[in-house]
Point group: D2
Chain length 189, copies 4
Amino acid sequence: MRQTLQKAPELDVQQWMNSKADITLQGCLGKVVLIEAFQMLCPGCVEHGLPQAQKAYQLFSPDDLVVVGLHTVFEHHAAMGPESLKAFLHEYRISFPVGIDTPADKGPVPKTMANYQLQGTPSLILIDRRGYLRRQKFGAISDLQLGAEIMALIKEEVVDHINLEKGEEQREESKRSQTVLCDDQGCRV
Amino acid sequence: MRQTLQKAPELDVQQWMNSKADITLQGCLGKVVLIEAFQMLCPGCVEHGLPQAQKAYQLFSPDDLVVVGLHTVFEHHAAMGPESLKAFLHEYRISFPVGIDTPADKGPVPKTMANYQLQGTPSLILIDRRGYLRRQKFGAISDLQLGAEIMALIKEEVVDHINLEKGEEQREESKRSQTVLCDDQGCRV
Amino acid sequence: MRQTLQKAPELDVQQWMNSKADITLQGCLGKVVLIEAFQMLCPGCVEHGLPQAQKAYQLFSPDDLVVVGLHTVFEHHAAMGPESLKAFLHEYRISFPVGIDTPADKGPVPKTMANYQLQGTPSLILIDRRGYLRRQKFGAISDLQLGAEIMALIKEEVVDHINLEKGEEQREESKRSQTVLCDDQGCRV
Amino acid sequence: MRQTLQKAPELDVQQWMNSKADITLQGCLGKVVLIEAFQMLCPGCVEHGLPQAQKAYQLFSPDDLVVVGLHTVFEHHAAMGPESLKAFLHEYRISFPVGIDTPADKGPVPKTMANYQLQGTPSLILIDRRGYLRRQKFGAISDLQLGAEIMALIKEEVVDHINLEKGEEQREESKRSQTVLCDDQGCRV
């Protein structure tokens, strides 16, 4: 493992939408996680970031990739409260889980956004199966590149840390032959 | 004049944004008026209707065409109040005047929207120089067609009704040689 | 009439496609003419210029606007001969008449292109009802602006020059109430 | 290995452009191969297939992915000869190698196209590092999905068949840490 890798800070979320249960990065270990940090009144998020996250949510298997939105409001707070967000998610047909980043005790930048030191919205975050932060991108990334980067992380083998701690190195079977991609024509191995 | 033409109902607006003074159709007589009826959380408005209205606002001379937005909220009222709208207009760089349609005394449909019997958002309304309703379109219209329809109305001669009432028929000079269009390279007669 | 206006030079066309008869500007007097000068292997023509001309051809009435393509080949001559052009027009579903600009006696630039002093392809030319050159644009023009410019020319009254020569000034009835625009939902006056 | 996998038929190419040397699938063993089968006068190829292949050519490392175009002319043969194709590749700035599929001895469908039983153009073909045909798609595939599918093949380990035949199983080191993606901001491991 390269030394620059660091554990992704846990999400600090006030409220979840499109999800019955709370979502934690800890609970996503073993899967790749895509976090789309956005604001509902950010044009670049509406035009590019959120549609791209929605496409990723539809294409990849939930066993391989968890897609979550993170509403990181750092301006116009009164205009982007929970009720507004709820209407927005409904109108834009966003179906993946979205968490509201917990407001800071002081200042406009919410807590998760601060922990990740995000530059603004939209920002895309990729976390590997072991919980390491692998990619953080402010602005747009092409679909071709995102598809490649997600799959590169999906294809990584996972060392079972619990077993490692027990002193037994035990590699998971390669996910290679099991990765599923779904499009309009169905799902393919 | 064809018999189907009817006077455009006056706007019933609660509050104006992007405009120091209130705007009335009465005050726009002599100019063509484009009304873009929208809701800030309506995807078709954000993607198509509002950018098109903004382009018309930039292309045509304000002496020929008045462009106004009309925020006709008929759903998610709590999510689309004045403060939210203000943030939205700022973030999406909408620079033409926008009026908030006055809420109904009863029911979700605001007053101007009801008076015009609009089917939904986005809706485009064109009013001629004499104040007659000439076009009402729910959904998308192509830029090519809209450009043509606006110019057809601009090119209509205006009979001065006040003078008509005095018994003097007095035709305005044709606007032909004075119509100005502005694009990135400057303005053209 | 402004002094800068000049008569549009007659087309010098070797062969017409999508048209049983030859087309001349002389024969189009009384109508507005849009000439789309293009090369079949010019990306900007394929992506922007030709689709725009096709939309204009569908939107406006043939009584108001004549749309013609002009294949002004000034490079890769061997790759863009008549047989190639024929296949191209078929594959790209271009249905308006297209004339092949007559090759020069000397040099790569064909005759009509030289007469109009076009800078390259795509170039858009607009000619008014009386045969005057009103617009010549190299590169892209927005649909909104083109629609407006075409309609401005359509709405111009036409002085019958033949009758003028006979000493009788005779203005055509304004085209105003007769202009027809057609879209997916039908045709509108 | 799943039983449905079959070796990709070797390319039968008459002439290569954008490449000094001939390209064979045999020579690409060890790398993933993307073949974009197209016709220069096919609108779907010009609008979607070729730009997508060009993006893949720029994004992935040539050590991981070989991108080749295959000009599979099955109609308008006279309009799409080598000289026309050369002009087309120049005008559309296509920089990856393109082979001209060898015409059939009989009938309009060229040889490689027939060997792969392609349904038409554009068609996308993906071949894995060991030379097996893994994907064949007529029509459009999304950038997100293509990026994922290419990377899935890149991440497959390669068994050295020559050594296998010698009875020595020898796995290549995982390509994982060496895969490079390049975008406007540079190249990333």
